[in-house]
Symmetry: C2
Subunit: 334 residues, 2 copies
Amino acid sequence: MELRIPAADDLHIHLRNDERTLAAVKAVREGGACRVLAMPNTSPALATGEDATKYRHYLVMQGADFDILTTIKLMPTTTPEMITEAARLGVSAGKQYPLGVTTNSEDGVSDFRAMYPVYEAMAQSDMVLSLHGEVPGAFVMDAETEFLDELHRIHRAFPKLRIVLEHITTQAAVEAVRSLPDNVVATITDHHLDITLDDVIGSTIQPHHFCKPVAKRPSDRKALNEVVREGHPSFFSGTDSAPHLIADKENACGCAGIFNAPYHMQFLATHFDALEMLPRLADFTSKFGAEFYRLPPSGEEIMLIKRDVLVPNTYDGIVPFKAGQTLTYDLAWI
Amino acid sequence: MELRIPAADDLHIHLRNDERTLAAVKAVREGGACRVLAMPNTSPALATGEDATKYRHYLVMQGADFDILTTIKLMPTTTPEMITEAARLGVSAGKQYPLGVTTNSEDGVSDFRAMYPVYEAMAQSDMVLSLHGEVPGAFVMDAETEFLDELHRIHRAFPKLRIVLEHITTQAAVEAVRSLPDNVVATITDHHLDITLDDVIGSTIQPHHFCKPVAKRPSDRKALNEVVREGHPSFFSGTDSAPHLIADKENACGCAGIFNAPYHMQFLATHFDALEMLPRLADFTSKFGAEFYRLPPSGEEIMLIKRDVLVPNTYDGIVPFKAGQTLTYDLAWI
């Protein structure tokens, strides 16, 4: 069994700007992606179009041999002028983090209303608003669902603004995005199609399954898989792959993030095949997202080949998603 | 400010039977307890009255200078005859673990109905049934609530059986126990009065806050504190203190359990004072539980003294609850 499809667009990835970047960059093509949207919560953050442009150059110097769509981080200090300038420099999206809910979000937003002039500039520049959709300070199991009111408010205020609700984890988020027009979409990660909170804090505590938003209930996972099976074009793939060194995960206060990029398409082919929805894979990973971001076809293709692949226990000092497990699909570049 | 009260009865503690036992034993008096109910999920488990008796001797050899009430572990292999013999040897309780939900529960129970002959023998021997109340295989946030039906069924079948629903974490469990007669009671741990799931998997993942049942919602924590504030005699203190070496917590698959024994009463005095319910402390820690287990007054007393105490980062290779934090009450034996 072989499946030849366009290479993946990973429309949400963390490549960082430190000793982890080489591994993170290397993993992209190994996992079958040829285009990525690189998140701006590096340290320091990417605040301007110039920062984003420099970051793309940095990634290329680190070996990135794939297309990089850039982002800037929307912070309380972001101005409409910064948006206009970033758009002029080709930045694809502005990413907004809620204050304090995940890695490097100490400069995140708590007053969404105060960001409206920024959103207005984004709508005018046709820049995508990328949202980490959790309410700061809300209980961890409710934070995404409580954010959905905010999503509806932003959409009502800026009906033309293109919005991505990133890495959704709940049935409620699926239903909210489904209820909105096609300029409001969602990304779904590999791991949220696969794990639930039981895999994070079931009988043991498993930091390599911890990410934000955290995986939720079996019914939520089911809703995510169902909307992908349906082939709804408002839901597409973004890995949220985040490289954290083992010591930063396995400690008293471990970081949020799952490193799924190196076996991204191998895992998804395995997962989609198990759920008998392999024909939906290419649209999810390589079409709907590109259409939303108005990208031309990449022209690159990968072959997914039915044969066992053992995911290693570590990958350059990072524990990858599915470490030590066997996937049933391998990947080759054509 | 000083508070002189009877020393604590810790009616749920894990002292283990290995290199951690010395520290676990030493912590008991340091935390203000003079009597404990020692849990039987050692390795190997305490299956019989003879096992329990030997274990008490072992603990004394490890330096235990406090009264030890013993337990046996109820397993699919437990017989009514084993109950009768254990009762004859003075075992206080039979502890039942659901299959696979926590540390050393691989030999736990999944078919509760099959245990009824054992419960019958316990009722006849007046031995306490101690329940880890989670349904095996249920979603982690629902497992305790789903068990409450089972609790009601067991109580209906054995209305005279004395039952402890251990380390409850939910408003639903509070309401269930409150609705039942005074032979069905609950223990509440130190940590469940203090933390929620946000302290386990909020913006970071914190294995030293991970226990089973896992801490739940703010509304659940509120219900636990409210029932203690009310001074309801069916709710009393059991720390569920469990010593796990740092390496067994801070890894890819960390153990469940929080080591709160060494600062047990110092923490509770601090917590009760902050909630302005210090007058309820002695009943919760040193009276209601003893009455349920029909223990005479211990005759021992402790003094809780209002002065700052810094909880160390580690305690004999174990991270204690509240590590690195300052409590506002110290403790002295009288």
